[in-house]
């Protein structure tokens, strides 16, 4: 099951600050909602356990996360592979980092989630909403934290 999402975050910081934030796995990890465990492996890879609670879904997703920067094209991708609840989730979230004349930055993001496993067909309607929430809250948190100068 392929799911696609898009969104936009306005960050009150210039692209340089944005880049320094999103190239730091510690900082990116801090944007995941309801994290229960983070293990930083190197400057591009970390593992995270994320709590999930939507309607009937109560449980944990375990992800291996990789940061894939493409500074030349002002692009950043975050790849999550993992799963939980009998389901495998491959999620790629990428953002165009567009500096604005007023020293702010627009994050135009899009997410593609590939949900596998029979539970996906049973719980697809739930997971769809959950994946969307997960992605948008990551970018929302990111926007907030960068704007706050974290």
């Amino acid at each position: 099951m392929k799911l696609n999402y898009t969104g936009q975050e306005k960050v009150t910081a210039d692209p340089q600050k944005v880049w320094s934030f999103i190239l730091d796995p510690n900082k990116v990890a801090s944007c995941l909602p309801d994290t229960q465990d983070i293990v930083i492996k190197d400057d591009r890879n970390f593992d995270a356990v994320v709590g999930v609670a939507v309607g009937p879904v109560r449980g944990k997703f375990k992800f291996a996360i990789q940061l894939v920067p493409d500074q030349a094209n002002n692009k950043m991708a975050v790849k999550l592979r993992g799963g939980g609840l009998g389901t495998a989730i491959d999620l790629t979230a990428s953002a165009n980092i567009n500096g604005q004349p007023d020293q702010t930055t627009l994050l135009d993001w899009q997410g593609e989630a590939n949900v596998s496993g029979p539970a996906a067909t049973v719980g697809g309607r739930v997971l769809d909403a959950q994946a969307q929430k997960l992605i948008s809250s990551v970018f929302e948190n990111m926007g907030k934290k960068i704007s706050e100068g974290a």
């Binding site: 939507v54 309607g55 109560r58 449980g59 609840l85 389901t87 539970a119 697809g124 309607r125």
Partner: protein, 291 residues
């Protein structure tokens, strides 16, 4: 399939239940009918650490009219409504919906309030509650509050119930003799989630114009929707086929369904339209108005 392990609590009062929900927060789920929760747990899609079984709570299975409202306690099963002769004859919308929720055996165990709290985007009761302008009564440690259904339904599988709270009752306005309604649902087979469904309730004024109207649709967005523009078109008007068609089209406009095995986006949107149209015609027909 076998659910994951959990701690089980069986409180004997609402206060105790609410306290447990406060204590365990997001780890805890309330077990009422369990007809959505237990299958999700068997798939291990839901793995709550704590279940608070409210089935032994006293005085929550009431179904009575009071102050112009039908009060549906948290332990009222779908069949309590389905087999209730008075409700079946006077509450046309509720009578319709009570016969198409899940399947006949599941309805013996499933609860009305539980379904509203579960808030499945394809659930039948949410659209019904929207059309009937129902209210939810929510108990927390700080007391009780009443919320209009539109505020209660927040998002897919998400309601306004907070940690440490539980819904204890749903309230539906008592219809008068000039009120009717209908629930139109298409499903691939008994027991499937709706492909699309529409709930309609309306009250005619003495002059034959529509005094009040509610239209809800389900399974066509991430949550049940009120077709407010459609209601607006009809409110205060004498119903005609053209007006009904226009109101029904409003349902298609706001519908934003996900495509799945039940149908494409286009099909579901069109079904929202067809079913709202049919529901309106049926409800009016029940009041002797032929369209």
């Amino acid at each position: 399939m076998i659910p994951g392990a959990f701690d089980y609590h069986r409180p004997s009062s609402v206060e105790e239940a609410v306290a447990l929900m406060g204590q365990y927060g997001l780890e805890a789920r309330i077990l009422a009918g369990g007809q959505s929760l237990i299958p999700a747990m068997r798939y291990r899609l839901a793995q709550p650490a704590v279940l608070v079984d409210i089935n032994k709570l006293p005085n929550l299975a009431y179904l009575s009219e009071e102050n112009g409202m039908l009060r549906v306690g948290a332990l009222v099963r779908d069949t309590d409504v389905e087999f209730h002769q008075d409700i079946q004859s006077r509450y046309h919308l509720i009578a319709d919906v009570s016969q198409v929720v899940a399947d006949p055996i599941v309805r013996y165990r499933g609860t009305v309030v539980g379904s509203l709290c579960h808030n499945d985007p394809s659930g039948d009761w949410a659209a019904t509650a929207i059309a009937a302008r129902a209210q939810m009564v929510i108990r927390g440690q700080g007391g009780e509050r009443t919320e209009a259904i539109d505020d209660f339904i927040v998002d897919s599988f998400t309601t306004s119930i907070q940690e440490g709270e539980m819904a204890v009752e749903a309230r539906f306005p008592v219809p008068n003799t000039r009120t009717s309604g209908a629930y139109e649902k298409i499903e691939r087979k008994v027991g499937d989630y709706a492909t699309a469904a529409a709930a309609v309730q309306l009250e005619l004024a003495q002059d034959g114009t529509i005094k009040e109207i509610g239209i809800g649709v389900t399974a066509v967005a991430l949550k049940a929707l009120r077709v407010a523009e459609g209601e607006k078109l009809l409110r205060g008007q004498k119903p005609t086929r053209d007006l009904i068609r226009a109101a029904a089209e409003e349902a298609a406009k706001i519908a934003d369904p996900n495509p799945d095995a039940r149908g494409s986006k286009e099909y579901k949107k069109d079904m929202a339209r067809v079913l709202v149209g049919r529901g309106l015609v049926k409800a009016l027909g029940r009041l002797g108005v032929k369209i």
